[in-house]
Symmetry: C2
Subunit: 352 residues, 2 copies
């Protein structure tokens, strides 16, 4: 496991093997989870306000990025806000020049833009993109919670040029270190899918709230609001600046999906006004595969340990490993763990 994260290997348990840049909700939760799982963590935050608490939790805190690098982690996870990314990368570049062993990853919700920035900083050859599907409507160290990652899936993103050893290092960090599962994608596939299930819906939730606020009878509408409204607008209660940043970082995909949504909603309005039975029937039937997928998920969750999803072994070739992993993800599989450097255990969990 030369490139992996030793769980109980030759190092002292407290020796940092993972460096975390940014102790907000995502980075703070990750740091606390890793420490709780016995993995040494060194962290740097742009302001030292969480350091006293973080140190009490067993997280070694660095006064500077240089001190973080000097602590000698195998992997640095960039958990800073995306707007801070160019500055952090400029700071890291000279520090990492003499340390080729350190692999770089991040947790940003868009992957194409981050890779461009990493490559612009000359760090592309040691980078693997990552996006843990974890979060809530809070933010900051105060909200950090190791359980945020319970059952979270990570998307790792790679290119035809990605070093397989770097991919293995990040994959083992996620499966063994964090205890989560993986799908491996290219940046474009990730960013389009993330726009569909997260960035675009955030705009939709915000537009719903705006519709209510702009209504002259908004007090009455707010009074009538029950579970469906609460759930559909929850993400619009998050910091709107954070939502705006997330949307702008994936703006082309989000804009295209918003236009598609607008067309769907206009289509329903037309069908309602014309009482177009066929169009309404088609609209309400189209989502059936997703309803059945969620019903199977619920049934499996109720069955619990008695009904483990089917697992299979996936051979990962030395050449074309990116395509093999992408095809597995497209079939709805998730990577559970690496049984060897070229053998993964994957589980079927998709819609099809």
């Amino acid at each position: 496991m030369a490139n992996g994260i030793p769980l109980d290997g030759g190092r002292h348990a407290g020796t940092p093997t993972v460096g975390i840049v940014g102790l907000g909700l995502i980075g703070g939760s990750l740091a606390r989870r890793l420490v709780a799982r016995g993995i040494g963590v060194v962290a740097w935050n742009h302001r030292p306000h969480p350091y006293a608490e973080a140190e009490r939790d067993g997280i070694r805190c660095a006064a500077t990025l240089g001190e973080l690098v000097d602590a000698g982690p195998d992997l640095i996870v960039l958990c800073n806000p995306l707007k801070a990314m160019p500055g952090v990368l400029v700071g890291l570049r000279p520090l990492l020049a003499s340390r080729p062993r350190i692999t770089l990853t991040d947790v940003g919700s868009v992957k194409g833009m981050v890779r461009q920035q990493v490559e612009a900083a000359g760090l592309g050859d040691r980078y693997v993109g990552a996006h843990p599907m974890a979060g809530n409507e809070h933010s900051g160290w105060q909200a950090a919670d190791p359980a945020l990652y319970d059952g979270a899936l990570w998307a790792l993103t790679v290119t035809p040029g990605t070093d397989y050893a770097r991919f293995l290092a990040v994959a083992r960090f996620v499966t063994e270190g964090v205890g989560n599962r993986i799908i491996a994608l290219d940046d474009t596939t990730h960013d389009q899918a993330a726009a569909l299930i997260s960035h675009m819906p955030h705009v939709v939730a915000t537009a719903l709230v705006n519709t209510l606020v702009a209504d002259p009878d908004r007090n009455i509408a707010a009074a009538l609001a029950a579970g469906s409204w609460r759930d559909m607008t929850r993400v619009a209660l998050t910091d709107p600046e954070r939502t705006r940043a997330m949307v702008e970082e994936d703006s082309r995909n989000v804009a295209a999906l918003l236009r598609a949504m607008a067309a769907r909603l206009t289509g329903v309005a037309d069908a309602l006004d014309a009482y177009d039975d066929r169009a309404l029937t088609a609209f309400f039937a189209l989502g059936q595969p997703f309803r059945e997928y969620k019903a199977r998920e619920r049934a499996a969750a109720l069955a619990g340990a008695e009904r483990q999803p089917e697992e299979r072994t996936l051979a990962i070739p030395a050449e074309g490993w990116q395509e093999t992993l992408l095809a597995s993800a497209r079939h709805g599989e998730r990577l559970v763990c690496l049984a060897g450097d070229h053998t993964a255990v994957v589980t079927a969990a998709g819609m099809d």
Copy 2:
């Protein structure tokens, strides 16, 4: 309390004072809650399959609508599906002719259409509309749960011609019988607000699911889906036929709101494509009053009993009582209870 529901008055505890037509999720939950609160209930369902269980719960079950009316309730609550409403009303009309004392209400999610049907059946003079803001993604007697009404707000709808004694009967049924709060509206105001916070968002959730299902990388998108997607599409997992019926019953309001949503989403897409900073700033700022309203609600919930919302006494005039109650609702107040026939206790809970 001549027109009210006696809680511990002259009747035997088991004597039905409330008749429930339809023992699905909403009617079944209501019937079980009333019985649990010591109120006699007689119920009729179009199929007798829940009767054995309902009788065990203390609900008297009627073989026919006639038997339900003969049990002598003060109030009949129509909890049948809206598509069954015309048939139920035709059946009730001759049965109610000799019983002018019985007040009629319902729990339908649209109020204008139901009133038209009630008036067409010649029962308009004894009718008060009602819509409890309660429900979940399940349906049917098996899902019935008295707790479904915990903290639920009811919208009662009235017209200039509504008999005040009938309104009082239904208002006391809700506040004393069910233990919930009220706002009193006209049908149009209700149906527009309900379309905004429930019917239109159901279509939006369905359109989100359709977008995912239609995507060639739907397995990957489904894998990445986390909390925001789950919450925003939960209502799209309900029976799509029920959603379609709800939407069609309020189709004019829903269509107008869908077009407005489509325009908002297109506006954001335009702003993203043009990087229109001012438009994006305005879009993400507009919902701020709703965010602050929810933050106040959360703070009040956390403060618990120590911080009761402000209550005041509302005098309800004999003439123009409809406007007095509507103005109170527009100010964000909710009716907690009736202190007398023309005095209500209301609590401030709105956005403004």
